[in-house]
């Protein structure tokens, strides 16, 4: 059971959120036509042991998308920001 401190709703249980994935990947520019960059964006992921940035969705709460700093080893969550305010 992870507990996440949502910037809008406060400390909430993991069950209210849905996990999406890696928040470190950056979507190529809309007009980018090089398939290699798109393949990289869609399919290539690191699988870090330790701290990681992830997208989570407060789907049963405020419906905000969040960027979490989470330790994949210990499940600690050190930071949680609104995706709309996170530095890209």
């Amino acid at each position: 059971m992870i507990r996440i401190h949502c910037p809008i709703c406060g400390q909430r249980s993991e069950t209210e959120f849905s996990y999406y994935g890696d928040a470190t990947v950056k979507r190529p520019d809309e007009h980018e036509t090089d398939p290699a960059l798109w393949v990289d964006y869609v399919f290539t992921r690191d699988n870090p042991r330790g701290w990681h940035r992830e997208y989570w969705h407060h789907v049963q709460g405020c419906r905000q998308w969040l960027v979490l700093e989470r330790n994949t080893l210990t499940h600690e969550v050190s930071a949680c920001h609104l995706a709309s305010e996170a530095s890209s």
Binding site: M1, I2, Y20, E32, P35, Y55, H75, A83
Partner: protein, 981 residues
């Protein structure tokens, strides 16, 4: 065995009568089932797992390996409960387990004679060798399974109720013994919100095993009094904390069986930023021959039965020990009138302790150990030998062997969070490592302290620290004489050399010393392998008694220290948890929400058969007379094409897309262009995933300059909304767009059939519905019976059709008004089954075709992909394999015969052997009333170039083959004259 007339913590004024194996079992309030069984002289209370040996009550707590009983009857039956943890209640029905016909004459006991064949890993060994995989093995396997095991689970639905609670506190104190009480007191005095959880029925822990009225009782009463004056302390008894999880979350089960007006169990999720683990320790068995014979018990348990339950477990007791703690048992037994001999493995015993024992009339044999218990049905004597092997074994008559080979701290919860505990050789036990940053801190016996004062001081300190810096914890309660502890003066011997007969390490799983030895001989080195091969520690007690002894034996054989051998992993739950408690009320229809459309009640009133679509209940078909689904959908579909029908499509996903960049947004998420769509018009669109595979389709109406109304498929509604939100909050933050789900806010119904315009015109006389004013793919706002509606002229059925949207609250009256006004036009309501038939006749794609593997080209929708703008998936849809010519393409099938096709059937070329994956597969199939034939949609390799070809449809599940011809999947009215008219 006898019940003493005085003493104990039982309430002699409230006798209870229970039933054990069909016979009355008397007891008192305050008894456990185990203490009542002992008091009534039941020596044998069960048979063992593998060898069906007689077993008696062995412990007085959660660690009980032998006294496993089945409680209650019928649907309430509960197998494998520990009699030591079952409160005595009037009318309780209990039965022994794993014996037939009964525990005194058990046929399965023949296994005991055959034991050489049932040694460690025997079951695994049957997997290899001449009989493996044969019918003979399968036959034997049935008996192996039946002969082993314990109680039988009931196959009826559980009639009990359960509850779940989530709560928070500042400090969770786990365990209500001396340390836990001190911790709760300190934290409570500081004003912290405390939950004190004790698995027993009352507070006190080990104090309850002390004689009534002593110093410890006085201490307990004082502390309890003060705790009850602090309103910020919540005391929960019968509450077992079974798991420690991430983010300071603890799982707990409260046992409330028989408590008036309560559920059977309540499952708690407790969020506590700080917790104190005062879980105490469990005594370890001595290992000697026949150490499972009824009459062999843990020394501490014997003392509990004597002092707490007033049951004297034996008249002539032999106390076998390697530490000081068992002397308390010996002295109390002697005071109660039993003859007692202490057999101590140590040659050096503290002077004071020896004198105390001898004053009490106890004979102390130092440097001796029990090598075997003797007796047929229960202990009648013990074989005792000097450890230096100078001298002959003595045979001592006794009816009770109370044994202690030290204690194992209950480090489970701590280890669940912080992994491996450390081994402390001087106390021969694992204790939590010092971890100052840990949110769960151990206190009390679990840290193997040397004296009582330390238990209280440490508990108090941990509680005070957990409560934080504010407030005043006051002074530490004064200590009391806690008697001799086990943690110092420890003798290493837990198993004498030269034990005779079967010597059990794991009583519940019948694992013997010789099984550990055999695993070692067979090359098992890792402790985790040893555990699985011998199954030691794998029973319901999870090795609470067995693990350290098994480890010690293994370490000995490997000539290593226990610390090097390590322990197995501790996982939740600490004690067994009923699945029912975890489920709570979330079963049956309560597992997930049920979604009903605003028109649901009408469907039910009309006798509609309902189908589940995700969370939704949808009207499937409306049977007339004794119609089945097959007859009903044919009738309904034909009727719509001939006359008119109304179908509830409220489940469609509906999303408001608003903002100045709404058109740009739609241009990105849909493959086709949206900038040219004028207000008042509707457009069909397809969405792709980033990898170029088709995600969803639907129609979107432009309501105004910056406002669109999008529909998605029922299945993808939630997923697509979440995806839009993610893009708008991350990658596309530059777009000024807001998306809002309107799925629940709007009812939707489709009016379809050649007479739909005429009917609608009577309902909306002021609105111009002519094809010129309202062509296909446009909408108009209107009212029906004074309810606001929006009429979207668009068609899924291929008929002249209108989708009517109205705010949910107006759904039912609008539906009713249409049905009433439509009567002269012979209107019917039609369900999802005939709606599917109509869409297959038209060749529209739906869920079975949009299966997450298909491309726009596969679906024949490539024309909808704009080449003038980028959109989600626009680059990756051109990956070479997605553009390959021999991909399976959507086609129609005209199926011969009178059976039709089944979705999922494979397609093979005519004459080809039906082997492998074939050349394609059927997705949607129906009988087409319009064509008078069975038709289907299918994906066939390079199918569009093969129209006209004969193929075979092979249903491998039902072993049926039929033939079909490939044709266009636009079966009916391919030009769209009907919908556009």
């Amino acid at each position: 065995m006898k019940r003493l007339t005085t003493g104990g913590r039982i309430n002699r004024d409230t006798p209870v009568t229970m039933c054990f194996d069909g016979r009355d079992l008397p007891g008192f309030e305050g008894d456990t089932l185990a203490s009542a069984l002992l008091a009534a002289g039941h020596k044998t209370v069960g048979r063992s797992f593998k060898y069906h040996r007689r077993r008696g009550v062995y412990s007085a707590g959660v660690e009980e390996p032998n006294a496993m009983v089945t409680l209650h009857e019928g649907a309430f039956r509960e197998p494998n409960t520990r009699a030591t943890c079952v409160e005595a209640q009037d009318g309780l029905v209990a039965a022994s387990q794993n014996a037939w016909p009964n525990i005194h004459l058990d046929i399965g006991a023949v296994n005991n004679l055959l034991s050489p064949f049932f040694s460690a890993g025997f079951y695994y060994k049957t997997f290899i060798g001449p009989f493996s995989g044969t019918g003979f093995w399968m036959w034997c396997e049935r008996f192996i399974r039946r002969a082993s095991g314990m109680g039988r689970a009931v196959h009826l639905p559980d009639p009990d109720t359960y509850e779940k609670v989530t709560t928070t506190c500042d400090v969770l104190v786990i365990g209500g013994g001396a340390a836990g009480l001190s911790a709760a007191l300190a934290a409570g005095r500081k004003g912290a919100r405390v939950i004190l959880a004790e698995q027993d029925t009352v507070l006190g822990g080990a104090i309850l095993s002390d004689p009534v009225g002593g110093e410890s009782d006085f201490w307990l009463k004082q502390i309890e009094l003060e705790l009850h004056t602090l309103p910020n302390i919540r005391i929960l008894t019968r509450a077992s904390v079974f798991g420690a999880y991430d983010s300071d979350t603890y799982g707990m089960v409260e046992h409330l069986s028989g408590c008036e007006g309560q559920p059977r169990q309540r499952y708690w999720q407790i969020h506590a930023p700080r917790a104190v683990m005062a879980t105490g320790a469990i005594e370890r068995p001595m290992v000697f021959g026949n150490n499972d014979l009824p009459g062999v018990m843990l020394a501490g348990a014997v003392r509990s039965y004597l002092n707490r339950f007033a049951v004297l477990a034996g008249q002539t007791a032999l106390v076998a020990t390697n530490n000081d703690s068992a002397y308390a048992t010996a002295i109390d037994l002697a005071s109660a009138g039993a003859g007692v001999t202490v057999v101590d493995t140590r040659t050096e015993v503290p002077q004071a302790l020896r004198e105390q024992a001898e004053t009490a009339g106890i004979r102390v044999l130092r440097g001796h150990a029990v090598i075997a218990a003797r007796g047929r049905k229960c202990v009648t004597s013990a074989l005792v030998a000097p450890l230096d092997q100078n001298g002959q074994p003595l045979q001592l008559a006794c009816d009770l062997i109370a044994a202690s080979a030290g204690w194992s701290p209950n480090v489970h919860l701590w280890s669940q969070l912080y992994k491996t505990p450390e081994y402390r050789p001087e106390s021969a036990c694992f204790i939590p490592r010092a971890l100052f940053e840990a949110h769960l801190q151990p206190a009390g016996l679990v840290t193997a302290p040397m004296e009582m004062a330390q238990i209280i001081t440490d508990g108090f300190a941990r509680g005070s620290e957990a409560a934080g810096p504010d407030g005043d914890a006051g002074t530490v309660p004064e200590s009391f004489d806690g008697g001799p502890l086990w943690s110092g003066n420890f003798g290493p011997v837990w198993c004498a050399p030269g034990v005779k007969g079967k010597a059990f390490v794991d009583l519940q799983h019948d694992v013997k010393l010789s099984d550990i030895d055999q695993a070692h001989l067979e090359g098992y080195v890792s402790v985790e392998h040893l555990k699985r091969y011998t199954t030691t520690g794998m029973a319901t007690d999870q090795g609470k008694l067995a693990n350290v002894n098994a480890l010690a034996r293994m370490a000995d054989l490997q000539e290593r220290e226990i610390a090097e051998a390590g322990t197995t992993t501790f996982r939740p739950p600490f004690t067994p948890v009923t699945i029912g408690a975890l489920v709570g009320q979330d079963h049956g229809a309560h597992v997930r929400p049920t979604r009903r459309t605003p028109i649901h009640d009408w469907h039910v009133a009309q006798g509609a058969a309902l189908a589940e679509a995700g969370l939704w209940k949808r009207a499937w078909y409306y049977p007339q007379g004794d119609e089945d689904v097959g007859a009903a959908y044919r009738r309904e579909a034909a009727h719509v094409r001939a006359h008119i029908g109304l179908v509830d499509v409220s489940t469609l996903g509906k999303i408001a897309v608003q903002g100045p960049d709404a058109a740009t947004f739609l241009n990105r998420v849909y493959t086709n262009g949206w900038k040219s769509l004028r207000p008042g018009r509707i457009r069909y669109g397809v969405m792709l995933r980033e990898d170029g595979i088709v995600l969803d389709d639907g129609a979107t109406a432009r309501l105004g300059e910056h406002e669109y109304f999008m529909t998605t498929t029922t299945a993808n509604a939630a997923k697509i909304l979440a995806d839009f939100e993610r893009r708008l909050q991350s990658d596309w933050r530059d777009l000024k767009v807001h998306v809002t789900s309107l799925t629940d806010q709007f009812a939707a119904m489709a009016l379809a059939g050649p007479k739909s315009r005429a009917l609608l015109q009577t309902l909306c006389p002021d609105v111009d519905l002519s094809p010129e004013a309202l062509p296909n793919n446009s909408f108009v706002e209107a009212t029906i019976a004074e309810h606001p509606v929006r009429l979207h002229r668009m068609s899924f059925s291929g008929e002249l059709a209108y989708e009517i949207y109205t705010p949910s609250g107006h759904g039912q009256p609008v539906w009713q008004a249409i049905m009433t006004a439509g009567a002269p036009h012979r209107i019917i309501a039609y369900g999802t089954e005939s709606m599917g038939t109509l869409r297959i006749e038209k060749g529209h794609v739906a869920g079975p075709e949009l299966d997450g593997r298909t491309t726009m080209e596969d679906l024949g929708l490539a024309g909808l992909a704009s080449s003038k703008k980028p959109f989600v998936g626009s680059v990756l849809r051109h990956r070479p394999l997605l553009q390959s010519e021999d991909r399976a393409q959507l086609v129609g099938l005209l199926v011969e015969g009178d059976e039709g096709a089944r979705g999922g059937s494979l397609i093979f070329a005519k004459g080809a052997a039906p082997e492998g994956h074939g050349e394609g597969w059927v997705t949607s199939a129906t009988y087409s009333p319009a064509l008078g034939k069975y038709i289907a949609m299918a994906f066939v390799k390079n199918g569009q170039a093969r129209l006209g070809e004969e193929v075979q449809i092979v249903n491998l599940l039902e072993n049926q083959t039929s033939s079909a011809r490939l044709i266009s999947h636009h079966f009916f009215d391919p030009e769209g004259e009907r919908q556009n008219g």
